[in-house]
């Protein structure tokens, strides 16, 4: 066998052996994806329900009671109590005890009759952007008692939601989550794998042996490629069986896209390993790259809604491109061949970072 291959197999085999013995790391490989998907899948929910609310009904009419009942029936709010003034509502809002206050003025009945001004008022905690948006949805409630003759004006738009007609958060989140989890674990594992050898003194011996830099790097990250694919599978299975996430595209395409993304994140981990002196620094640097990835990749917030500067940063991040790929393949059933822009972007990212990493990693100590 060729000497470089013998050496690379030796390093990769040793890496796997060490990984199997390191229960914590091994647990993280399975644990991080499972924990994250359960967290994101169950806890994070953009369909907000059950906002704490209080009512100040100063009219005491039956219509008012019907309006409040309709608001409760929407499940958007959950009534926590009644007060007798707008000021009391404001105080509850201020203390954070309610997110929404329903104020029904004494002249509610007359306002309903007039129909040219809103009959009641919603006091909304605007410090949370999502709550605010959801509570605004309540304004579309049909005013009770307004006579059926007054047909509502037809809206200018009717919304048809493609790919996710029930608008379930899990469907929006799980595909991107594959990228988020890979991004975290792949960067962290590789960065730490190399820095650990430096910290423990193993590298000082290794670099006096005939192992060449690219051999060392490729062999060290190769096992993590497999681990990454295992993680993709775990998330995908959980997404499909627990959250009914559709798989509309080709699975081969998905795994190819994942492979490319894994290569990009592993090379980022390698680059970090050449910058960090200690495992702690490696972790800090990983978090430093991870946060912008989560925030600016379009995983959490719509990419097109971000300011131009943030979009430019987002375009550099591999996660941005992977989110585009994975949403396209899983949800829209797009062919990988129609998603070449993110494919090129990820390939370019990989080529640049891996080159930088190899250039920066010298078989020297200075």
């Amino acid at each position: 066998m060729l000497r470089p291959i013998v050496r690379m197999l030796a390093i990769a085999g040793k890496e796997v052996r060490q990984l199997r013995r390191d229960r914590l790391s091994f647990g993280m490989i399975i644990g991080i994806p499972l924990l994250q998907i359960l967290l994101f899948g169950y806890a994070i929910n953009f369909d907000v329900r059950g906002l704490d609310a209080a009512v100040a009904d100063l009219s005491g009419t039956q219509d008012a009671r019907r309006l409040v009942a309709a608001a409760e029936a929407s499940q958007v709010v959950k009534l926590r109590g009644r007060v007798d003034s707008a000021a009391a509502l404001e105080e509850l809002l201020n203390d954070g005890r309610i997110a929404v206050g329903i104020y029904i003025p004494p002249d509610f009945a007359r306002r309903l009759e007039d129909g040219d001004r809103p009959a009641a008022q919603l006091l909304v905690d605007g410090s949370d952007p999502i709550i605010e948006g959801v509570a605004r949805g309540l304004t579309r409630l049909e005013p009770p008692g307004r006579h059926a003759a007054a047909t509502p004006e037809p809206a200018a738009f009717e919304v048809r939601t493609f790919y996710n007609p029930e608008r379930r958060s899990a469907v929006q989140i799980v595909p991107g989550l594959i990228g988020v989890i890979l991004n975290l674990t792949m960067v962290l594992f590789t960065a730490i794998a190399i820095v650990r050898e430096r910290e423990r003194g193993n590298l000082e011996l290794l670099i006096t042996t005939p192992v060449a830099t690219p051999e060392l790097m490729i062999a060290k990250i190769a096992p993590y490629v497999l681990i990454g694919l295992v993680q993709v599978t775990i998330i995908l299975l959980a997404g499909v069986y627990l959250f009914d996430v559709p798989v509309r595209g080709d699975l081969t395409d998905l795994y190819l896209a994942a492979l490319l993304f894994i290569a990009a994140t592993l090379s980022l981990g390698l680059l970090i390993s050449t910058l960090a002196r200690t495992q702690f620094q490696a972790m800090q640097l990983t978090v430093f790259t991870f946060l912008p990835s989560i925030l600016l990749s379009g995983f959490m917030f719509p990419f097109d809604g971000m300011p131009a500067a943030a979009q430019r940063i987002g375009e550099i991040l591999p996660l941005t491109h992977f989110v585009r790929l994975v949403r396209g393949i899983l949800l829209r059933g797009t062919d990988l061949s129609e998603l070449m822009t993110p494919v090129y972007a990820l390939s370019a990212f990989f080529a640049v970072t891996v080159t930088l990493a190899i250039l920066r990693f010298r078989k020297r100590l200075d």
Binding site: R3, V6, R7, L9, A10, I11, K14, R17, Q18, R21, D22, R200, G201, N202, E204, L205, L206, I207, T208, T209, P210, V211, A212, K363, R364, L365, D366
Partner: protein, 314 residues
């Protein structure tokens, strides 16, 4: 690519210098290390021993000067040298979460020993370094002596021509140290050149040749015997009951460079130019009312070290 040579000195360094920022760790070091010998670097911590060894291995780039190892220029031709050297780092550098056998197998493959030789080489190494009982044990759980035997077994698996040992015995009991040196002489007998750094005088004395380093400078070089014979000082041994008092008197004499106590004896290093050293010292002690004997004595390696480094000079 050039190949390592088989003649000429194993290592030749000329005006070798390495600075870290404002600190000069190695300062204008020039020496030639002959083949198939144990060559010692003696010096306290921070004298530049490790930095020099790392430059010899091609791990650090010299700030100035040049170094040739087995005829190859470092660090430019370092890769061509990799199969011919073994480097035992000061800190244990094998994998603590792998067993003794796994570590050896790993290095055998890293050095790409021919497949049919691997098992026999590993077996021989385990036998030679008495690791049979620990073969299945994780390296992290070995004792200091066992770790060091494993480290030596690992860096000699590929039978390197040149072996660098950076303070190999600093965490090892005396018996293990003796055994370790026996192994080194075995290797030298088979033609290996060994460069070993130490701060133990008894180890330094076992080397064929010795370089004494102080603050990055080469302050003395030669065979230990020659260094002791040619010491640039006169050594007196003073035996007296009043050691403290005598030490104070001796330290007050302008020709005394240093005084060290060994039990009831004092070991005094005098300037070489001192005339009638014994007589004058006797007189000085008598004048202070101290009784005892004053004799000339051959220098030991510690005297050489003190005389060369100027430690204790006033």
């Amino acid at each position: 690519m050039s190949e390592p040579t088989e003649t000429g000195p194993a290592i030749r360094a000329g005006n070798l210098t390495r600075r870290f920022g404002r600190l000069t760790a190695v300062d204008g070091l020039s020496l030639a290390i002959p083949r198939a010998q144990i060559y010692g670097f003696l010096g306290p911590n921070g004298s530049g021993k490790s930095t020099t060894i790392r430059m010899f291995c091609g791990l650090l780039k010299p700030t100035a000067g040049e170094v040739e190892v087995l005829g190859l220029e470092m660090p430019r031709e370092a890769e061509a040298l990799r199969h011919s050297i073994g480097y035992m780092t000061q800190r244990f550098s094998l994998y603590e979460d792998l067993t003794v056998l796994e570590n050896l197998r790993f290095l055998a493959r890293i050095y790409t020993l021919p497949r049919r030789n691997r098992a026999t080489r590993i077996e021989a190494a385990i036998a030679e370094y008495r690791l049979a009982g620990q073969a299945g044990q994780r390296a992290g759980t070995l004792s200091g002596g066992e770790r060091q035997r494993l480290a030596l077994a690992a860096v000699t698996l590929h039978e390197p021509e040149l072996l660098f040992l950076d303070e190999p015995t600093s965490a090892v009991d005396p018996q293990s140290r003796r055994d370790f040196w026996e192994s080194l002489f075995g290797l030298v007998g088979r033609g290996t050149t060994i460069l070993v750094s130490t701060h133990y005088m008894d180890e330094a004395e076992r080397c064929h040749r010795l370089a004494i380093l102080s603050r990055g400078r080469l302050v003395a070089e030669g065979a230990p015997r020659a260094l002791m014979r040619d010491i640039d000082a006169i050594v007196l041994e003073i035996e007296t009951e009043a050691t403290t008092e005598a030490q104070r008197v001796l330290n007050g004499l302008e020709y005394v460079r240093s005084v060290a106590q060994l039990g009831t004896r004092l070991h005094a290093l005098l300037q070489r130019s001192t005339e009638d050293a014994v007589e004058r010292t006797r007189a000085a002690l008598r004048k202070a009312g101290i009784t005892g004997t004053v004799e000339l004595t051959p220098a030991n390696l510690e005297d050489v070290f003190v005389a060369a480094t100027g430690a204790g000079a006033h």
